[in-house]
Amino acid sequence: MALSVLVADDEPNIVLSLQFLMNQAGFDVRVARDGEEAIAMIEERVPDLVLLDVMMPKKDGYEVCQTIRNNAAWKDMRIIMLTAKGREVEREKGMAMGADEYITKPFSTRYVVERVKQLLGA
């Protein structure tokens, strides 16, 4: 069974590109448009990794990250945070929340795919 990745972002075009990249890498991909949808989809079926945008409506990426890390059942889940906010403090905050990786937009597609593969041991 394929490893599963959840893409959570409110920017449709970015979602489109990430979806394409993850499919191409052979992962099972699902998409959430905001923070609450992301949590709902995780609860429905736990993915192996979340590509999590920070600036999302309803619940931002930090909150989603915190929710995941506070749930022992989801402790194995990998989290990569994506953000268009370039400041260093945001990165530190994300890492402190328990993210495995913090990538600033615009990103290199190759790097993102590489990091996802590494984190999933694929």
């Binding site: 920017e11 970015i14 448009r33 906010k85 370039g86 597609t109």
Partner: protein
């Protein structure tokens, strides 16, 4: 026959009788059985009625009817209405052992020696004419009497050599008697009970004499007051005297009343009898009605006598000031004439005795003592008694004062009527009123203010009254009265600065009191009080609220011994008396009087007050000061400490002020800093947001470019889709950059606006055309509601279209699916054009209605994900509309939708202008 020797003998006998009374009064006082009853006290105040009253009032009444009255109305008003002022002055004076009016004023303003000196100088110069008046009256009446039974006015005395001048001998005699009355006591204390008794007796004599003459003339010479008034009314010269219809006199009445209200307090002799000589404050209760009653009685026959005089001597050959004598003389009433003369003598001697005693005390304590105290022989180290010296000084002062009065009489006074001379003195004494009244009720009056007010008032008085009197007597060029000094018309002493139409006295009173009061007030407000001034000001103003003797002099903390200070006081008041006074004070306050012990602060304060009773407040302060000076904590040191305390208080006041200012500045700085921080944070946020907004489309562009680059074998459909994203996101990026630049320009005020008069209808139609594609793609129904004609507005066409396109696009993107509709309308509301864009979308929650016009504020999910905004559109709209002078806002719409509205001012055309008018 009234031979000269008879008159002299009777006069001398009368003076001896007075002396006997005084002697007895002093004797009773020494034995502790005072003769001073409330009635005696009230009668002594009647020393106010001098020969001016006795002879002068009749003279004045014969010339101008009732205008003599204000001089008695004033004191009556003061006693009846202002008795509380007198009570306050008496209370203060008793507590502080005040010896004179100079002493009183000086004590109020920080025990200032300069001030008491100034008051003394003013009093001496001011009262000199008044004493001259008495000498004139006595000598004139004596000369008139000598011619008995012939009724004639004797020649002016100035032509007689002074050794043959009656007035000179009168002066010498009066000086001798005054010395006997006033300085008989060895201990130079402040009370002269014997003198008070004598003066009270004189008041009875002059009243009885005047009433006797009045009764004789009215009922003896004439047939009652009815006949006199009937005769007067029949005489065209005299009839106006019985009426009050002269309008020009009201000002004079006012000023005279005011002047005499002040005089009854401020004349040194009145202060002496009313305040200094008071043995019991309660006596005032009786005086409040008895003294006005006395004034009424002595004025009863003034007008009838004046009229009778005019009727009897119609040719004017007899001086009206002598009617009181000449009328009984005419009737050959020998005894009555002599009695009248004795009455006049009483009035004159009473005034001279009391006035010179009061003035000599002032001269001694406030002019001579301060100088003598600087002499080494009088320093504290010396032991000899000084009471003899004090009495010597006072006796010399009495002789000097009476001689000064004589000189004024001989060289100046001849040219004036009695009343005019008296009024000059009244005006001088009135100069004390502002500083006294001010000092009693206003704590803020300062020494500098009092000095300024008194000096100014005195100078103006001297210029407007004393100088002209010298000029009229030929001592100064007479031209200065008519043309002003050096021909300066503005400086004419009787019409200063062009003020004409007033009598001389009213004119002088107006100017001098104005200068006095304003000088006093302004300088007082501009200067600060020294510690002693503050202490005294408090003690004076609140004397009625503080009980018991005033203890505020505790600042004497020098370590003088009891023996030393008692010896010091003894030098001035006599050792025996000092011993008595100290013993009484010690037993009353439970103090020990061991000779070698250091004197208690209260005892030193007491010693100063006792001393003040003998030599005045200012001098007493000096004496005690120099005595304590040699010790560890001398007067100077104590004053220094007090001054330091004042300085420290001032310093701390300034510090407090500074620190308050600093606090204020700090708060302002903090606020400014907070604002800066806030601005910084906003800028930071803005940059982060801009960066985020730029990165987002850039991310898509980069991602798809890389995907297309890395995946050559991609399907054509997908490639097409990805390229489309790249193009759209590039557009978005471009739009965003343009908007950021626009907004920056607008905010910085550097935008180029192409303003023109626009037809709003056309602009709306153009905007709808520009969004036609978007409308079609979204399958939205758009209605437009425009009236046939809309007034023009002034705006930049492209920018206005930008606003409308933005609002229409937002509405189209947000409205409901599938049945979305948008309604665009325009209408005129007053002087405004109003445009509404209504949709049936989800609406804007009330709490966000302000925020959505701010930069990068997007409410979650407002726009469909496929058509993201930049977050700057509405912010730019607001900038544009505000620039055109309008307003933009959002409200709810029927159903769930939103109504975006803006207004623009209508350009005033001829039509609208006309409508507006």
């Amino acid at each position: 026959m009234l031979e000269g020797w008879v008159i002299l003998l009777v006069s001398f006998g009368y003076l001896c009788l007075l002396f006997a009374i005084a002697y007895y009064g002093d004797l009773r006082a020494d034995r502790g059985r005072s003769l001073i009853t409330p009635a005696v006290y009230s009668l002594s105040i009647a020393v106010y009625c001098t020969s001016w009253t006795f002879y002068g009032s009749v003279g004045l009444a014969s010339q101008s009817g009732l205008s003599f009255l204000p001089i008695y109305l004033g004191p009556t008003l003061t006693f009846v209405l202002w008795w509380f002022v007198l009570r306050k002055i008496i209370r203060i004076s008793k507590r502080n052992r005040i010896t004179s009016i100079a002493d009183f004023i000086s004590a109020r303003y920080g025990k200032s020696g300069v001030l008491s000196g100034l008051v003394t100088v003013i009093a001496v110069i001011g009262i000199m004419p008044y004493i001259a008046l008495q000498l004139k009256a006595v000598s004139v009446s004596f000369n008139v009497l000598l011619q008995y039974p012939d009724v004639a006015t004797p020649a002016a005395t100035a032509t007689v050599p002074w050794l043959a001048d009656t007035a000179f001998y009168v002066a010498i005699t009066l000086a001798a008697f005054t010395i006997l009355f006033g300085t008989r006591h060895i201990d130079a204390s402040e009370h002269h009970e014997g003198m008070v008794c004598a003066v009270a007796f004189e008041s009875i004599v002059k009243l009885l004499a005047f009433l006797a003459v009045g009764l004789y003339v009215v009922f003896g010479l004439y047939d009652g007051p009815g006949e006199i008034s009937a005769a007067a009314l029949a005489d065209p010269d005299l009839a106006p005297l019985l009426t009050l219809n002269n309008l020009g006199q009201y000002g004079q009445w006012m000023s005279m009343t005011l002047l005499s209200m002040a005089a009854i307090i401020c004349l040194p002799r009145q202060f002496q009898v009313t305040v200094v000589e008071t043995t019991d404050e309660r006596h005032l209760h009786k005086a409040v009605w008895l003294f006005p009653l006395y004034l009424l009685a002595i004025n009863l026959f003034v007008l009838p006598l004046g009229l009778a005089g005019r009727l009897t001597f119609p040719d004017g050959s007899v001086d009206a000031d002598t009617f009181v004598l000449t009328l009984p003389m005419l009737g050959q009433q020998e005894a009555l004439t002599l009695f009248a003369f004795i009455g006049g003598l009483s009035a004159a001697t009473g005034m001279v005795i009391v006035a010179t005693i009061a003035l000599s005390t002032m001269v001694c304590n406030d002019l001579i003592m301060p100088v003598l105290l600087r002499l080494p022989a009088l320093q504290a180290s010396e032991r000899g008694e000084l009471t003899g010296l004090l009495l010597g000084i006072r006796r010399a002062a009495i002789v000097g004062l009476i001689l000064l009065g004589y000189l004024y009489f001989r060289y100046i006074g001849e040219s004036y009527a009695l009343v005019s001379i008296g009024l000059i003195s009244f005006a001088a004494a009135a100069q004390f009123a502002p500083v006294i009244i001010g000092g009693l009720f206003w704590r803020g009056g300062t020494r500098a203010g009092a000095l300024t007010g008194l000096s100014l008032g005195f100078l103006v008085w001297a210029y407007t009254l004393l100088l002209p009197s010298l000029a009229q007597s030929g001592w100064l060029p007479a031209g200065m009265i008519e043309d002003g000094p050096l021909g300066l018309g503005l400086l004419r002493p009787y019409a200063l600065f062009g003020l004409e139409g007033l009598d001389h006295i009213t004119h002088a009173v107006l100017w001098s009191l104005t200068a006095n009061i304003f000088g006093y007030l302004i300088v007082s407000l501009q200067t600060r009080q020294s510690p002693v001034e503050q202490i005294q000001a408090h003690a004076f103003v609140s004397v009625l609220r503080t009980a018991g003797p005033y203890q505020g002099l505790g600042y004497w903390r020098g370590s003088i011994t009891v023996a030393d200070i008692r010896a010091l006081v003894g030098r001035y008041i006599g050792h025996e008396r000092a011993e008595r006074e100290f013993a009484a004070f010690a037993s009353a306050n439970g103090l020990s009087l061991e000779a070698g012990e250091a004197a208690d602060a209260r005892l030193v304060g007491f010693a100063e007050r006792v001393l003040a009773g003998a030599i005045g407040t200012a001098s007493a302060r000096g004496v005690i000061g120099s005595a304590v000076k040699g010790e560890v904590l001398g007067m100077d040191r104590v004053m220094e400490i007090l001054d330091e305390a004042t300085q420290i208080r001032e310093y701390s006041r300034r510090l407090e002020q500074k620190s308050r200012q600093l606090e204020l500045t700090t708060a302002e700085l903090k606020a400014a800093n907070e604002r800066l921080k806030e601005l910084d944070r906003l800028k930071d946020d803005f940059l982060a947001t801009v960066s985020h907004e730029l990165r987002t489309p850039l991310t898509s562009i980069r991602s798809f470019s890389e995907i297309l680059y890395d995946t050559p074998a991609i399907e054509t459909g997908e490639r097409q889709q990805f390229l489309d994203v790249i193009i759209k996101e590039s557009d978005r990026l471009t739009r965003l950059i343009n908007q950021i630049l626009d907004l920056a320009k607008m905010e910085a005020g550097r935008m180029d606006w192409n303003l023109a008069d626009l037809d709003p209808g056309g602009v709306i139609v153009d905007s709808l055309n520009a969004t036609r594609g978007l409308i079609r793609d979204n399958e939205v129904q758009v209605d437009v509601d425009l009236p046939g004609w809309l007034p023009p507005v002034t705006a930049d066409r492209d920018r206005l279209i930008q606003v409308l396109v933005n609002l229409i696009s937002n509405a189209v993107k947000c409205c409901a699916r599938p049945q979305g509709w948008v309604h665009v309308s325009a209408k005129v509301r007053g002087r405004w054009l109003r445009v509404d864009v209504v949709d049936n979308g989800p609406g804007v929650p009330p709490e966000s209605r302000e925020q959505i016009f701010e930069k990068f504020h997007q409410i979650g999910g407002a726009l469909p994900a496929a058509q993201p905004g930049t977050g700057l559109g509405l912010a730019i709209c607001r900038q544009i509309i505000q620039h055109f002078g309008g307003r933009i806002w959002v409200e709810g719409a029927p159903g769930d939708g939103a109504t975006f509205s803006f207004t623009l001012p209508i350009r005033p055309t001829e039509d609208t202008r006309a409508a507006a008018q």
